[in-house]
Amino acid sequence: MEPRRLVFIGVGGQGNLLASRLLGETALSAGIPAVVSEIHGMAQRGGIVESAVLMGDISSPIVSKGEADVLIGFEPAETLRALPKCNSDTVVITNTRPLPPFTVSIGQGSYPAVDQTLNLLQSKVKRVIALDGNALAEEAGNPLSLNMVMLGALIASGTIPISEEKMKETISSSTKEAFLESNLKAFDLGFKSVQ
């Protein structure tokens, strides 16, 4: 299979590591070779968390600058910060709900307006899918299910050969009973927001 390089970017606590791991599990169960790379440790303390999933005929576990096929951003300013990963053919899927860093509170730098961020993204890459992931997660009944919303949008984008059913199987088998319904609903809401 032609390699697909996906970059997940988020802020500590948003759950992008789980999203990339579940995607890796799904690829494996669908018979697609996949490697997932993660950053653990100090970088996770409220900082930026990046993970990557590389699928198909490729053995490198990370994505270089300009080489992401898909960028999935869990926070709009972080999506923008990760733009160097993109080229003009990249598909960007971004949450639109800001989570300003504490540096803004203590007057170091200002947070970019979301519509300006989206316009910039749109002017640079092939396609931008923007959704208020937090609103959909809340609608699903679990504010922590943002990662499921984003996975739903990713699968619906048609950028990777993973079906809705396969992805849901993995979510079902790896989610605790108490969160299963809301997680699946969050996935569906993310999925539908793209169609």
């Binding site: 494996l28 790379s37 950053i39 303390r45 080489e67 910060r81 990249t90 200002s110």
Partner: protein
């Protein structure tokens, strides 16, 4: 049952590199494991800790890496298969036993996992520990992907027993923290107890014994070389005239570059999996079949220099280059694009790299450095100490989450070099300068290597205040226990050592135990400590809120909010604490109720008493 205990041979699982290492050890029948945690190695012992609760595996979080190495050495010398894991700088701490353990050798297989950290994702330096193999004379193996991380560990145990030497398996952060498919092998039966056979003229390293042992080690080197020549993970791939040599994660970048550039028929790749001793004959064969060589290795030019020496010895005069070729530096991690560019440049292959989008009109983005969590007790302690000592005191600090006290507005970190250095460097600062010295160390780090420095401080009549930030866990590496931890919530019963007793036992007369969320009392204690003429210690006790939540010990406090009728917008809360639960809405401070854990520190320092607990 722990997922790594599954006995389905041939099953494919998506495993983290560190899980694959643990699985490899289990497949080799490991019965004894020790470690001190450290990113990027920490998930290996995490598996062992959980597995030891349901099997006969003996596992311990040792006090530090030297202790872990010595505990493990005795088990291996007695005949048990043993694994000892640590990060690269941990091997500095364990280097003393390791160097002479190479002389005594082992009876049961002993595998030392050494995790290097190119790019310093979570470390104080990016030293290249391949030099340790050369320094100690011990064999070193380097896997290139997750499957190999498991398989190489299994083979490493066999190798260790054949050579009767500890074997070092070197990984890098990228390998430890990638997930990939792993085909499982069979779990071997475990030998859990053994009998030590006395042999003092082999194991008691006095000069007369060690002279013989050094000779033995050098003989073993020759046997290790024979193993390296036939090692299945050393491999020449292809038979083209362009030679590329690579190891570890970089091997993947090289393979992808060769395929992206469509030059597979022109290239020979030497993949090095047994990196010390480097297989001389295999390297010679490789050097003879190519016209020029590019060495792709992260960090130091270790293989590059070795290959140049081998070429000289064998009279092969071809260009061998690595560092300095098109972006290949001694710094940081490599990546696929960088390696593709270097290969194309070195061998003069035409290709057009993907263009990165135009970034010239991107707005400047606010930084998002890592930060102490909302309700982190370190923030409260730092606040109290700064109120008393002010900004001019020297603040030696140490390694842990609290190193983040470096960042504004706390800005209380002046020197960090290694675990435990806060205490000993305070001795030097207080003697060499007239400045006040107040230093910080975490509970786990204090047990690891702060104790000897503190004894030194008391004995040599130094004068400073040491603050021990006791959050009841080893927080930054993922909440491992240490000797001062109540381990009952973790499902094991280990003996807890009182930090206060220990500090008093070191001879410290002025000891204050404080609860940092009680700001006034903490400030009083800091004042008293500052007045004391000698070494004073403040033990600041409050559980890490993440650990407390994960183990069902969370405080049941209401979150706080800002009452805008009272708030006069001094912003002392934000300017002095910068808690991530606070944010600005327009020009007013607000508190995110989901993030706030109700530590009440901001409420205590607000001059208008405008920060109040949320009502039901």
């Amino acid at each position: 049952m722990h997922k790594l205990l599954t006995n389905e041979t041939g099953k494919e699982m998506l495993l983290l590199g560190n899980e694959a290492i643990a699985r490899g050890a289990l497949e080799a029948g490991v019965s004894f494991a020790t470690c001190y945690p450290g990113t990027p190695s920490s998930e290996i012992p995490e598996q062992f800790f959980n597995i030891s609760k349901e099997t006969d595996l003996y596992f311990e979080y040792s006090t530090n890496e030297k202790v872990a190495m010595e505990v493990g050495a005795a088990a291996a010398i007695s005949g048990l298969r043993t694994m000892v894991t640590m990060k690269h700088v941990g091997l500095n701490v364990a280097a003393d036993p390791l160097m002479t353990l190479a002389y005594t050798g082992v009876k049961g297989g002993m595998v030392v996992i050494n995790a290097d950290d190119p790019y310093l994702f979570s470390s104080q330096n990016e030293q290249d520990n391949r030099y340790y193999a050369r320094l100690s004379g011990l064999p070193m193996l380097e896997p290139t992907n997750v499957q190999e991380m498991k398989d190489v560990v299994v083979a490493a145990f066999e190798l260790s027993e054949e050579l009767e030497l500890p074997v070092i398996v070197r990984t890098t952060t990228r390998l430890n923290h990638i997930r990939g498919a792993v085909k499982l092998g069979e779990l071997k039966p475990v030998k859990t107890k053994t009998t030590f056979e006395k042999n003092p003229f082999h194991f008691v390293c006095v000069p007369a014994v060690s002279r013989n042992l050094h000779k033995l080690l050098i003989e073993k080197y020759d046997r290790a070389m024979e193993k390296s020549e036939k090692w299945p993970y050393n491999e020449i791939i292809g038979n083209g005239k362009w030679g590329i040599v690579s190891n570890g994660v970089s091997f993947n970048y090289v393979s992808d570059a060769v395929s992206d550039l469509g030059i597979a028929d022109k290239v020979s790749i030497l993949k090095v999996g047994f990196s010390w001793p480097l297989p001389k004959e295999l390297c010679g064969r490789f050097l003879r079949q190519v016209e020029k060589v590019l060495v792709v290795e992260e960090l130091e030019p270790v293989m590059e220099n070795d290959l140049k020496a081998i070429a000289q010895e064998k009279g092969i005069a071809i260009p061998i280059r690595g560092k300095g070729v098109e972006g290949l530096t001694r710094l940081f991690e490599y990546d696929p694009r960088m390696v593709r560019n270097a290969v194309a440049k070195y061998f003069d292959v035409e290709f057009s790299p993907t263009e990165i989008v135009d970034l010239s009109d991107l707005p400047e983005l606010p930084g998002r450095p890592p930060n102490l969590c909302a309700g982190c007790p370190h923030r409260a302690t730092y606040y109290a100490v700064k109120e008393v000592y002010g900004p001019d005191a020297i603040n030696p600090t140490d390694i842990g989450c609290y190193t983040l006290g470096l960042l504004p507005p706390i800005s209380m970190a002046d020197l960090v070099i290694c675990m435990g250095s806060s205490v000993s460097s305070s001795c030097g600062f207080s003697q060499a300068t007239e400045q006040k010295v107040v230093s910080f160390i975490g509970d786990s780090t204090f047990f690891h290597s702060g104790i000897t420095g503190l004894i030194n401080a008391v004995h040599n009549n130094h004068k400073f205040t040491l603050v021990i930030l006791d959050n009841g866990t080893t927080a930054m590496t993922g909440h491992q226990p240490h000797p001062g931890v109540n381990t009952t919530p973790l499902g094991v019963e280990l003996t807890r050592i009182s930090l206060e007793d220990l500090v008093r036992g070191c001879g410290v007369k002025d000891v204050h135990v404080v609860k940092p969320f009680k700001i006034k009392k903490t400030i009083e204690a800091v004042k008293a400590a500052m007045e004391y003429d000698g070494v004073s210690v403040i033990i600041s006790q409050e559980l890490c809120p993440l650990f407390a939540r994960a183990t069902g010990q969370a405080r049941k406090s209401k979150p706080f909010y800002v009452n805008h009728n009272k708030c006069k917008n001094h912003r002392i809360c934000v300017d002095k604490l910068a808690c991530p639960a606070m944010y600005l809405d327009g020009d007013r401070v607000e508190i995110n109720e989901t993030l706030c854990i109700g530590c009440s520190v901001c409420a205590q320092i607000c001059p208008e008493n405008a920060i109040l607990p949320v009502k039901e």
